[in-house]
């Protein structure tokens, strides 16, 4: 049976003023408007209830509003702050469903398909969501319908409506044509034609409408009436698989959190086993009762399914957090998501010791990465460039297969000593007091990090020109020098002597 999608739309019509009033509650009494500049004139962008009662409205020129109401508190709009606030509310809504979308500038869409029974049915769920948001000091309306457009229209023009599954049209047709949000021109055209409700518009022949108002209009109308589907774009990557646990009484203690994580890991593992999958990227989300959400993610080199290992990696990551997980007044929901799940081959016990070794090393790398950070456990990949400092790139060890046949090109001929230093300084360091017997030759002595070095042997120059297609850089003449006491360094002269007057010398590497 095809399941009808159910979308819960929320509209926060007074978001800009609510934001200000939440910070300074005294502002709720007097008329307050938020102004916005468009086409070089100021308009009313948002207003609180007292201001609306006095006859002000959204989109009114600010000068008119000023003339009508004195005194009037005016605050310039801060759209970024509004957007950030909406994001926070969306984060908070994650506890109802992982599929939450922003409906800018002041709405949210929640895909609650198959989730409403957890909250006592759709009516109860709508009341819960709007009630909780209203308690935070927001004016909010909501509606539930089969498509995002229909839910959006109902939230704006018929708040509190819940359509019957698959029968959105019944509730939509009585709405005024403004709910179609067709744009000024189309609105005028529809009015001119005497079409007042969406139902009246829908009765016209499609070809007629398309000719007058364009194909987009038809598409919108169809979605609105529930004849077509419009998928939501989730804000966060949707988990491939997930398990969650809700608590009537928020949990605080470390033990109960650990116990919950274990049972979540077990159920997620069960789900993954049925699907024949394992998690490569696992995220645990802790929803605090006061709305804050903490997320921790762990990455795994190989698809992971064993709940004990999952738990161990999670605990290690939790222990390594710079600021420990703060339960505050407790977590009321913990969710474990496999953000990236991959097919695993059915577990076959391998007697190949190499395979076993590889797996154990991979597991250890995962553990180290969970503790110290993914980027702190690295392997190297050779790069095709002759610039010494770019000759290799470090990649997170988890991202590469254990065996890789990328070859390392040797500079030295058979029987030669190493031609490249074992260690490269993060940045070449300038050396001072360089004395060279011939201008283009190697230095006889130099000073580096407060120490004088007398050169006993030197070899070079090895001339390395910078990659001309990338950026300006001087040609470097590299010398391998050995000091009198046997220390071996890699120095270069930045630029040729005849190119620039007094080239500088840098120490870039240290040989074994």
């Amino acid at each position: 049976m095809l399941q009808h999608r159910r979308i819960l739309a929320l509209w926060l019509p007074r978001l800009p003023t609510d934001r200000l009033i939440r910070r300074a509650p005294s502002r709720s009494e007097a008329p307050l408007v938020v102004s916005h500049k468009a086409n070089n004139a100021l308009y009313v962008y948002g207003l609180n209830r007292p201001a609306q009662k006095l006859g002000l409205y959204k989109g009114q020129p600010l000068a008119n509003a000023r003339a009508m109401v004195q005194p009037l508190a005016i605050v310039p709009a801060d759209e970024k702050a509004d957007a950030a606030l909406l994001e926070h509310i969306a984060d908070w809504c994650d506890r109802f469903t992982p599929l939450v979308t922003l409906d800018p500038p002041d709405g949210l869409l929640l895909d609650i398909t198959g989730a409403s029974h957890l909250f006592g049915g759709e009516t109860q769920m709508l009341a819960t969501v709007t009630g909780l948001i209203a308690r935070q000091g927001f004016t909010v309306t909501g509606a539930i319908a089969g498509t995002s457009l229909a839910a959006h229209a109902l939230a704006h023009y018929a708040p509190g409506t819940i359509t019957l599954p698959g029968r959105d049209a019944e509730m939509i047709t009585p709405l005024s044509i403004t709910a179609l949000d067709p744009g000024d021109k189309a609105l005028r055209a529809l009015r001119h034609a005497g079409l007042k409700t969406i139902g009246m518009v829908a009765q016209r022949r499609q070809s007629e409408l398309a000719e007058r108002l364009g194909k987009n209009f038809i598409a919108r109308l169809k979605v609105l009436l529930g004849a077509e589907e419009q998928p939501l774009q989730p804000r966060r990557p949707l988990p491939d698989l997930m398990a969650e646990q809700r608590f009537a009484e928020p949990i605080v203690s470390e033990d109960s959190i650990a116990a919950s994580l274990l049972s979540l890991a077990q159920s997620l593992s069960g789900i993954m086993e049925r699907e024949g999958k394992g998690a490569r990227l696992l995220e645990a989300a802790f929803f605090r009762a006061d709305g804050k959400i903490e997320r921790i993610a762990i990455r795994s080199g190989a698809p992971l399914r064993d709940p004990k290992i999952m738990l161990r990696l999670l605990r290690q990551r939790l222990d390594a957090l710079a600021d420990p997980l703060d339960p505050g007044f407790g977590f009321d929901l913990i969710r474990l998501e496999a953000l990236l799940a991959e097919e695993t081959n059915p577990v076959t016990v391998s007697f190949d010791s190499n395979e076993n070794a590889r797996r154990q090393i991979a597991f250890m790398v995962d553990r180290l990465a969970a503790r110290f950070g993914d980027a702190q456990v690295q392997r190297f990949v050779p790069q095709a460039t002759h610039i010494p400092e770019a000759g290799a790139v470090a990649v997170p060890a988890q991202d590469r297969e254990f065996t890789s046949d990328a070859a390392w090109v040797l500079r030295r001929q058979a029987g030669d000593p190493p031609r490249r230093p074992l260690r490269l300084l993060e940045k070449p360091e300038e050396v001072s007091a360089v004395v060279a017997s011939v201008p283009d030759g190697p230095p006889n002595r130099f000073r580096w990090r407060q120490c004088r070095h007398e050169v006993a042997r030197a070899e070079g120059p090895e001339r390395i020109a910078m990659e001309w297609w990338k950026k300006e850089g001087l040609t470097r003449d590299y010398f391998r020098v050995e000091t009198k006491d046997g220390q071996r360094f890699w120095l270069y002269r930045d630029g040729l002597f005849h190119q620039i007057g007094a080239p500088r010398w840098y120490l870039q590497g240290i040989f074994a």
Partner: protein, 270 residues
């Protein structure tokens, strides 16, 4: 008082038993807490291998005190030798990378190592490095661990080094503790080397393979010595036909270091 011969015999037997037992006990004490016997990995230089009892013992902690910039390479070569074809981990904190330079995999390859075996782990401080090391050593599939620690941090005490040694003896992975800017102090290491770089042996202006002046200053199961070791990247061993021929010539012209020879030998279990 006359002692009859049978009684005398019994007394002698008793004393001999006692000394045999004592010797046995001494032998046991000397090996107490030592890693189980594993086949040593030869360094290549015969005199050094003789003192080490065949070579570098795997599954045991080896400490390298580096004097000067180039000496750390000795620890890296030991780690190659110990790792064989198994993975090789290098653990260091951000400070070491900044002070002593980031590892260049190309340089590692030039020195005869295989960067494909290498895993780098960067931590925030020595305490984290030690705990990462403990994790790594617990895995029997790890070949070698190079733990680079600067100075003498508090966390690197006798207990910590004993932990490393114990973990290594359990799993068989070989930890090499590379210490820059540190002095010799008690630890659970099986061998402790004080290493400086030495002028390379070469006739012309070009310098040859890296040479280390390696002093074995502690060895729990054998003698000590001082060796001039030349690393041959071609065969990844301390064998260099040129320098061994040059040994005497080097001794004549050497300004600072004595020629390769054992300075002193001290037996413990022998």
């Amino acid at each position: 008082m006359a002692v009859d011969s049978s009684q005398a015999l019994r007394i002698i037997e008793h004393i001999m038993n006692k000394s045999a037992k004592l010797a046995e006990l001494r032998h046991f004490m000397a090996r107490y807490g030592l890693p189980p016997e594993r086949t040593p990995i030869p360094l290549g230089e015969p005199s050094a291998d003789a003192v080490l009892g065949g070579g570098l013992k795997p599954g045991a902690l080896h400490e390298v005190l580096a004097k000067g910039w180039s000496a750390g390479g000795f620890a890296v070569t030991l780690a190659f030798l110990a790792a064989g074809s198994k993975p090789f981990f290098w653990v260091r904190s951000g400070y070491e990378a900044l002070e002593y330079g980031a590892l260049s995999p190309n340089g590692l390859a030039e020195l005869g190592g295989d960067p494909r075996q290498l895993f780098m782990v960067r931590t925030r401080n020595p305490a984290e490095s030690l705990s990462a090391a403990a994790d790594i050593l617990a895995c029997p599939h790890v070949g070698a661990l190079l733990l680079e620690i600067h100075g003498t941090p508090k966390c690197l005490d006798l207990v910590a080094s004993r932990r490393l040694a114990f973990a290594a003896s359990e799993s068989g992975a070989t930890p090499i503790l590379l210490r820059n800017g540190a002095e010799s102090e008690p630890s659970a290491a099986l061998t402790r080397w004080q290493v400086a770089s030495a002028p390379s042996a070469s006739f012309d202006d070009d310098w040859g393979n890296p040479v280390f002046d390696a002093q074995l200053i502690r060895h729990r199961t054998g003698g000590l010595g001082r060796f001039l070791l030349t690393w041959n990247p071609e065969i990844s061993m301390f064998v260099d036909p040129v320098s061994s021929q040059l040994g005497s010539a080097y001794a004549d012209t050497s300004l600072r270091h004595p020629p390769p020879q054992m300075l002193r030998m001290r037996g413990r279990s022998a």
